[in-house]
């Protein structure tokens, strides 16, 4: 073993598994965990579709049905859609920017464990009949102390705390890694669009998530210690919840959607054999989407009787956000049009599926953004159709494209193309059969979240059709699962760069070694692997007796200093357990916040406290900032 391998290797066995801080191991685990939650939440949807397949059905009663859709929505949003994008990013971004780990490896591990424990908690409490019951946006007063007895809504509120902390950690991680750890020469203008998309997403997370954390904290204190935030009789207000929730909730949709845009911008050019058209316009569009997304939360509240003038503003913002999204779509079509002959591989199929489905969702979104139309469509099955067209078409299809695309990099195995086609067509057809009829059901007056409907309503046939579509989707997911399992068992490793793609993650082996790159490449292009002279240079002299990474400057990515990253540790795992105990305890008693903080504090101090031997090794390679300065200037000259 070379010193480099030795330094970056994890301990063997279960201890190594629990204490790893390798972004790839954690990232892969993270992706798999979110997919398990996706599968579980999908099964809940299947039960709901069975219940709705017939009028006046008695398969499940209202109590269970309410939990089913609440857990389904909560899990899909908080345990799948947002985290899966972050999980993919935490795996890929260090590879894409040419570094060896994320900026805060131990924090990364903590964020994952916390997410895992929070997600497991949701499904455990659901199995125990303590599942959330007031929908994924959990409106007060239905979720408040008077109308939601027991602990169901408290667990919902604490699930939010778990997942938001994890998401916020991921966001800080992504911003710092993308901004400060890019390979030398990878200026901001050369950063892959997926990384841009994730940076934009991360900023949205930072400013959106605090709102829902505050809202759910107010909710849990209303329930547990009788605060009056949402009690109209004591100066509280039920719309306060909706404002706080949707101030987060609308950006949330874009937090899910923007990473998918980034994935498309990686996949599509590879198969069109062409750089993406309008790179700068794409980045500007992403940033514009992020800004606008904070200005349209009220379009979820058009029917609450807010003043009409204010609503016009939000209508304008809601409709205008279609512009940057449209711009991206046009640029991709232009990329396809000006590229070489298109290769119809499975990843691209899913991207093409995105166009067909998402554009419908976008157009119905414009309808919902219009105040007048919204008054008819809001909270009907039309909205259920719309949100699935946007989220599945806009995010899950690109995500599956991403799975097919990056699977060889993650596992070293190729997925079967043939199975991929089956997967795609079943998913595509099943999706449209399941969700298109819901538009019509909404127009026929079917409200969302009803556990049954009468035969006289005339909704039965379309609902039955929708259920058939849902089960077609389930079959397509089985095909995907079988494809993954068979591919993993097949012999034969995937090459470094099976798709002949352009970005840095394809410059290393599949799967990459623990240290990602034997030497850090120097980049002089937006599509380095397509350029003749890659790499134009390599970085040498990174110390290898400790895990070190090169920190570069924000805008021009010139080498700035060498950062020593923390080594594997069990403390993040222990800290996550302590945090879990505190959060779950606080569902039952406010004092858990006090006594629960003690183990959290202890584990965090244990995590922080430096190891003597390691500190000595750090000293041995230490170069003080005052000493290194002259060298930086010389490097800059060498690069330019």
């Amino acid at each position: 073993m070379s010193p480099l391998e030795q330094t970056w290797a994890d301990k063997p066995g279960i201890l190594g598994w629990l204490s790893t801080v390798d972004h790839k191991r954690i990232g892969l685990r993270f992706v798999v965990t979110t997919l398990v939650f996706f599968a579980l939440a999908g099964q809940l949807a299947a039960v709901m579709r069975l219940q709705l397949a017939r009028a006046d059905n008695h398969l499940v009663g209202p109590d269970l049905y309410n939990q089913l859709f609440s857990v389904h929505g909560t899990a899909m949003m908080f345990l799948f859609a947002v985290p899966v994008m972050e999980a993919v990013a935490l795996y890929l971004i260090p590879l894409m920017v040419g570094t060896r780990n994320v900026a805060f490896p131990r924090l990364n591990a903590y964020g994952y464990w916390l997410f895992l424990f929070g997600g497991v908690m949701l499904f455990v409490v659901f199995a125990l009949n303590i599942g959330p019951e007031a929908g994924w946006f959990n409106y007060v007063p239905l979720s408040g102390p008077e109308f939601s007895a027991g602990k169901r809504s408290d667990f919902w509120a604490q699930l939010i705390t778990f997942t938001e902390i994890s998401a916020l950690i991921g966001a800080i991680q992504i911003i710092t890694t993308a901004f400060k750890m890019r390979a030398p020469g990878m200026t901001l203008a050369r950063m892959p669009l997926f990384v841009w998309a994730m940076v934009v997403t991360s900023f949205m997370i930072v400013f959106a998530m605090p709102s829902v954390m505050l809202a759910s904290t107010f909710l849990i204190t209303d329930r547990l210690v009788s605060t009056q935030f949402y009690n109209p009789a004591e100066g509280g207000d039920v719309l306060l919840w909706q404002h706080l929730f949707w101030f987060f909730g609308h950006p949330e949709v874009y937090i899910i959607f923007v990473p998918a845009l980034g994935m498309i911008s990686e996949i599509l050019p590879t198969f069109a054999r062409r750089r993406v058209v309008g790179y700068v316009a794409m980045v500007v569009a992403l940033v514009t989407i992020a800004f606008l997304s904070f200005g349209l939360w009220v379009h979820h509240m058009f029917t609450t009787g807010l003043p009409p003038l204010g609503m016009s503003f939000f209508t304008a913002a809601s409709i205008m956000i279609a512009l940057p999204t449209g711009l991206q779509i046009f640029c991709w079509i232009a990329t396809l049009a000006t590229g070489k002959r298109v290769q119809f591989a499975a990843p691209l199929l899913f991207v093409i599926g995105f166009f067909f489905i998402f554009i419908i969702g976008g157009l119905t979104g414009v309808m919902l953004g219009a105040t007048t139309l919204d008054s008819q469509l809001h909270d009907s099955y039309f909205v259920v159709a719309h949100l699935h067209y946007v989220l599945i078409g806009g995010a899950v299809f690109p995500l599956f494209g991403g799975f097919y695309y990056w699977f060889p990099k993650l596992t070293g195995r190729m997925l079967s193309e043939r199975a991929g086609r089956w997967n795609f067509w079943l998913f595509f057809v099943g999706f449209n059969v399941a969700f298109f009829p819901m538009h019509i059901l909404g127009l026929q007056g079917m409200p969302r979240r009803v556990y049954t409907y009468s035969a006289a309503s005339g909704w039965e046939n379309l609902n039955l059709l929708s259920t058939l579509g849902a089960f077609t989707i389930a079959v397509s997911m089985l095909v995907f699962l079988v494809n993954v399992v068979m591919s993993l068992r097949r012999a034969g490793r995937a090459p470094h760069n099976p798709w002949n793609a352009a970005t840095l993650e394809w410059a290393t082996s599949s799967p990459p070694p623990a240290y990602n790159f034997a030497t850090i490449p120097v980049v002089n292009s937006r599509t380095p692997l397509w350029e003749q002279k890659f790499p134009m240079a390599e970085v040498t002299g990174l110390p290898d007796i400790l895990p070190t990474v090169l920190v570069t400057r924000l805008h021009d990515a010139e080498p700035d200093h060498v950062a020593i990253l923390p080594t594997p540790s069990l403390w993040p795992f222990l800290a996550a357990i302590a945090t879990t105990v505190m959060f779950v305890g606080s569902v039952f008693t406010p004092w858990a916040v006090v006594w629960g903080a003690v183990p959290v504090g202890i584990t965090l101090i244990g995590w922080f406290w430096p190891d003597k031997e390691e500190a000595a090794r750090m000293l041995s390679i230490e170069v003080k900032p005052s000493e290194g300065e002259a060298r930086v200037v010389a490097l800059r000259e060498a690069l330019s």
Binding site: L128, N129, F588
Partner: protein, 171 residues
Amino acid sequence: MCLRFPELAAVLLAMTGVAGCEREQRRFSEPSGDALTITTPLTDIEAGGQAQPAVAKSPYDENAFAISEGQRLFEWFNCSGCHAHGGGALGPALMDDVWIYGSEPDQIYSTIVQGRPNGMPAFGARIPRQQVWQLVAFVRSLSGGLRKDVEPGRTDSMQMRPAPSQTQDNP
């Protein structure tokens, strides 16, 4: 059974115990018959000083949903009219630990069903048994007589009394 996935039973039982399950049940109706039939005599005044009968277990003392239903009925049936919101007015206070006719579930049940001298009407013919038991559980929670995790929080109305889950336990 509170478990939906029997295969998880062993793990889950070890983790959380069964207590949570009863707390979260939403029992909309009770099977007619014995379940709610009180087994003790409806009065605790027995000729000849006989031994106290076994105390009937309240079916809802650990059921948060039923207690919150009791809370709603307490207002709907205008119990507040005499007992205020538990603080007492025409009728005695229910939040303290002074019980004229006993604090055991069956005693409160009898009080509601049979009435008591000096003003408490008999509601036996007017309130179905299930709802009486819901009221019993709620009344017991008013004085902090139940487990904290099943007692209701504040209501969405003027705060005339502390929420049962906020009161000190009266053993």
